[in-house]
C-alpha cells in the first residue's frame, strides 16, 4: 500500500493502532425489522476473527454496513482509526478494507486473468486521462499487475485457469479466485462472507490454508461462516451475533462451551 493513502490520523489515536476495525453501537432497520441492534465489537490487527450466529442474526447486514453498501441508522464504523460511517464502498476500500460476497460473482466475457486484474487498487490506467497523457506509466503498472496476478494465481495453484473464461470455472474455484483477487487489492483487513459455503471438502482445506498463510503475512480477516468446524479451527476470537447484537465474543473453545451460545445457536447436536 502506498503510504500516502493512510496519512489520516493514525498518529493521534494510539489506542487505535491495534484495532483495525471498530464497530460501535451500529443500528439498521428495514421497515419494522431490526436487522442490526446496537452492535459493538472490535477486530484486532493480525487476527482471523470469526463472525457466527443463527440465520437472520444480521451477519450479512453488518458486513454491508461496514463495507459501505448500506447506510446505518445509527452508530459508527471505524477502519484504521478513521470514521467511515456512511461512506461509499470505494472510500471504505481506500482505508484498506475489502470484502467478498457469499455467492461468487463471475465476470462475463473475461478470462480469469482479466477478472484478477480488476483487483489492484488505484491503477494509473483507471484514470481515463492518463491513458493518453502517460501511456507508458499505464503499461508499466499493467505489466506489474499482470506479474502480481500471475504470482498470486500460482500461489493459489490456479495458474492453469488463467486464460479460461471466468464463467467456465466451478463455484469453488471462483471462491478461490475471489480471495486471490481481493489480495491484489492489498487489503489490511479482508471481510469474507461464507468463504466455504458450497465448497467441497478438499477445496475447503485449501481455502483454510490460504487464509492462514495470508494472515501470517499480515492480513487481518473477518469472516462469516456457518461451517463450525472450519470457523472454530481457523478463527480466534469468535464473535457470536444474535438478533442483531453481539451475544458474546472470545476464543473458540469458550464460545463453543458457552451455554447462551449453545442455547441460541449451536444446539445439542454439535
Amino acid at each position: 500500500m502506498s503510504e500516502s493513502e493512510f496519512e489520516f490520523d493514525d498518529d493521534t489515536e494510539t489506542s487505535a493502532d491495534n484495532v483495525v476495525l471498530r464497530v460501535d453501537d451500529l443500528q439498521k432497520r428495514f421497515g419494522g425489522l431490526v436487522a442490526t441492534d446496537h452492535a459493538t465489537f472490535e477486530v484486532e490487527r493480525g487476527t482471523i476473527t470469526g463472525l457466527i450466529g443463527p440465520n437472520g442474526a444480521g451477519k450479512s447486514t453488518i458486513f454491508n454496513l461496514i463495507s459501505g453498501f448500506y447506510d446505518p441508522d445509527g452508530g459508527s464504523v471505524e477502519v484504521n482509526g478513521v470514521d467511515v460511517t456512511g461512506a461509499e464502498p470505494y472510500q471504505v476500500a481506500d482505508h484498506g478494507l475489502i470484502r467478498t460476497f457469499q455467492t461468487p460473482r463471475k465476470l462475463e466475457g473475461m478470462t480469469v486473468r482479466e477478472a484478477m486484474l480488476v483487483g489492484p487498487r488505484n491503477q494509473p490506467g483507471e484514470s481515463f486521462i492518463k491513458l493518453f497523457t502517460s501511456p507508458g506509466e499505464v503499461g508499466e503498472h499493467e505489466s506489474k499487475s499482470l506479474a502480481d496476478a500471475q504470482r498470486i494465481l500460482e500461489e493459489f495453484e490456479l495458474d492453469h485457469l488463467a486464460t479460461q473464461p471466468a464463467t467456465d470455472i466451478s463455484g469453488g474455484q471462483m471462491k478461490l479466485v475471489e480471495l486471490a483477487r481481493a489480495m491484489l487489492a492489498e487489503p489490511e483487513v479482508l471481510l469474507l462472507d461464507e468463504p466455504v459455503a458450497g465448497v467441497n471438502p478438499t477445496l475447503r482445506k485449501d481455502l483454510a490454508e490460504q487464509i492462514r498463510r495470508l494472515n501470517e503475512q499480515g492480513t487481518t480477516f473477518l469472516l462469516i461462516e456457518h461451517d463450525m468446524e472450519f470457523v472454530m479451527d481457523l478463527a480466534d476470537p469468535v464473535i457470536v451475533l444474535d438478533q442483531g447484537s453481539v451475544l458474546m465474543e472470545g476464543p473458540p473453545q469458550r464460545v463453543q462451551s458457552d451455554p447462551r451460545v449453545i442455547e441460541a445457536y449451536l444446539g445439542g447436536g454439535t
Partner: protein
C-alpha cells in the same frame, strides 16, 4: 502474429496449422468472413452504381458522410451500453444538442449568437453535451438498468420539447438555417471546392461522371467525418483495453463486485456516459455542417433507435461492430429512400429529394422493427461481438510466460494483440 509456433507443447495439428500460415482470411470467424464478404459486395455495388451513373458522386459522398455520422453515434452508444451496460435512450438528445450547438453558434438565422467560426460551435456543442450528460446522469445513473432506459427516454423528450417550444432560443419548428460548411474561414479549405476545376470522367461512354463544386465540398465533409471517426475509434480502442475499460466491463457484469473492490462505480459510469455523449454530440456537429439546416425533427426518438439497432446488430461492446452497424443502418435508412425512387437526387447539399409516391417513413420503421426482432432472435450477441482478451497491449507479451492452453471461447491463438 502467430506466436503459437513459438510454443513447444501445442498439439501437432495446431503446429501444422501455424506452419501453414493460413493467412488473414482463414483466421477469421464465420461472422467476420460474412462481414468482409458483405462489405466487398456492397462496395462493388456502389462502384457499379457510380460508374453507370445510377448514383451521383455528390450523393454518394453524402451517404458516406451519413454513414460516418451513424458510426460516430454508434461509437458513442457503444461506450455507454457496450462497455458499461448503461441503457441510454437519449441518443437523439445528445445528437440534437451537438447539431443545435453548432447551428446556433454559426448559423446565419440563429436567434442567439450566429455567425461564429464553426470551431466555436464545436466547442460550445461539446461543452453543452457534457453539461447535459451530467445533468441527466446525476439522477439516473444510480438507478437500475431498465429505469435508466425509461428516465433517459423521458429526459430526451424534455430536451426535444424545449428545443421545439423555446422559439426565442431556437426558432422553434422553423429550425436554424444558413449554417456554413465546417471549414468556412479556414485557409485554403474554405475556398477549396470553388477552386477545384469541374472534372468529367467517362468510364462508360455516354454517361460521364461529373465532379463539380458540390462534389468537392462533399469530399471535404467526408474528410471531416473520417477525422472524427478516426479520432473516436483511436480513443475508444485504447480506452476499451485499458484498466479503465476493464472496470467498465466489471460494472456491466456485476456492479456490486466493482464497488466491493474499491472502484467508484458512479464516477466510472458518469465518465462512460459523458464520453459517449460527447461522441454523439460530435456526430451532431458534423450533421449540422453536412445538412446546413437543423430542426427539432432531428431530435425525434427514432434516431435513438436507429443507433441502438446499429450497436446491437454490430455487437455490444465491440468498436468494429459499432462501425459496421452504423454503416448498415445508413444502408437501411437510405436504401428505403432509394428503393422508392428511380430518379437520382441531385443538388448541392442539402440534397433535396423529389416527393415519393409511397411514404418511406413507415416502411423504414417496419424494416428497423423487423431487424431488431430478428437480431435478438437469431444473433443477440450481434454480428461482430468482442472476443479477445482485453489487456493493455504492451503488457501482455512480456508478463505472460505461458501461452494460453485454451483461450477465450472463439478466440484465436496469438490474437491477444491485433
Amino acid at each position: 502474429m502467430a506466436d503459437a509456433s513459438t510454443d513447444g507443447d501445442v498439439p501437432p495439428e495446431a503446429d501444422a496449422d501455424a506452419e501453414d500460415d493460413p493467412g488473414y482470411w482463414a483466421s477469421l470467424t464465420v461472422a467476420e468472413k460474412g462481414v468482409v464478404a458483405f462489405i466487398g459486395l456492397f462496395a462493388a455495388l456502389l462502384v457499379a452504381l457510380l460508374v453507370t451513373g445510377g448514383l451521383g458522386p455528390a450523393y454518394f459522398l453524402y451517404i458516406v458522410g451519413l454513414a460516418g455520422m451513424y458510426a460516430l453515434l454508434s461509437f458513442g452508444l457503444n461506450a455507454q451500453w457496450g462497455f458499461t451496460g448503461l441503457i441510454n435512450f437519449s441518443v437523439a438528445a445528445f445528437f440534437g444538442i451537438g447539431a443545435y450547438g453548432a447551428a446556433l453558434m454559426s448559423g446565419s438565422t440563429s436567434p442567439i449568437a450566429g455567425g461564429f467560426n464553426p470551431m466555436y460551435g464545436l466547442v460550445v456543442a461539446l461543452v453543452a453535451a457534457a453539461v447535459l450528460a451530467v445533468i441527466i446522469g446525476i439522477p439516473t445513473l444510480r438507478l437500475r438498468a431498465d429505469y435508466l432506459a425509461i428516465a433517459s427516454l423521458g429526459l430526451a423528450e424534455v430536451v426535444r420539447l424545449v428545443i421545439l417550444n423555446q422559439r426565442e432560443w431556437t426558432n422553434g419548428s422553423a429550425g436554424v438555417r444558413g449554417i456554413p460548411s465546417f471549414f468556412e474561414g479556414w485557409p485554403v479549405l474554405s475556398t477549396f471546392p470553388e477552386a477545384m476545376p469541374g472534372l468529367e470522367i467517362v468510364v462508360i461512354p455516354g454517361s460521364p461522371i461529373l465532379l463539380e463544386t458540390s462534389f468537392w465540398s462533399a469530399l471535404l465533409n467526408v474528410a471531416l467525418v473520417l477525422a472524427f471517426v478516426g479520432v473516436s475509434y483511436f480513443v475508444l480502442k485504447r480506452a476499451h483495453r485499458s484498466p479503465w475499460g476493464r472496470v467498465l466491463r466489471t460494472i456491466r457484469s456485476d456492479e456490486d463486485l466493482a464497488r466491493a473492490l474499491g472502484k467508484n462505480t458512479y464516477s466510472f459510469k458518469m465518465q462512460s456516459f459523458v464520453l459517449g455523449s460527447l461522441i454523439m454530440a460530435l456526430a451532431g456537429v458534423f450533421y449540422a455542417h453536412l445538412n446546413l439546416f437543423v430542426s427539432p425533427g432531428d431530435l425525434d426518438p427514432i434516431t435513438t433507435f436507429y443507433v441502438w439497432v446499429a450497436v446491437i446488430l454490430g455487437g455490444s461492446g465491440s468498436n468494429r461492430g459499432a462501425l459496421f452497424g452504423g454503416v448498415l443502418v445508413v444502408t437501411i435508412r437510405e436504401g428505403t429512400r432509394f428503393l422508392n425512387e428511380l430518379q437520382v437526387p441531385v443538388g448541392i447539399s442539402p440534397v433535396r429529394f423529389v416527393e415519393l409516391p409511397i411514404d418511406p417513413a413507415p416502411m423504414r420503421l417496419l424494416l428497423i422493427g423487423v431487424v431488431i426482432i430478428l437480431v435478438m432472435r437469431f444473433r443477440p450477441q450481434g454480428v461482430l461481438p468482442p472476443q479477445r482478451e482485453l489487456i493493455w497491449p504492451s503488457s501482455v507479451d512480456e508478463s505472460t510466460p505461458k501461452t494460453p492452453k485454451s483461450g477465450v471461447r472463439e478466440s484465436k491463438a496469438g490474437d491477444t494483440d491485433e
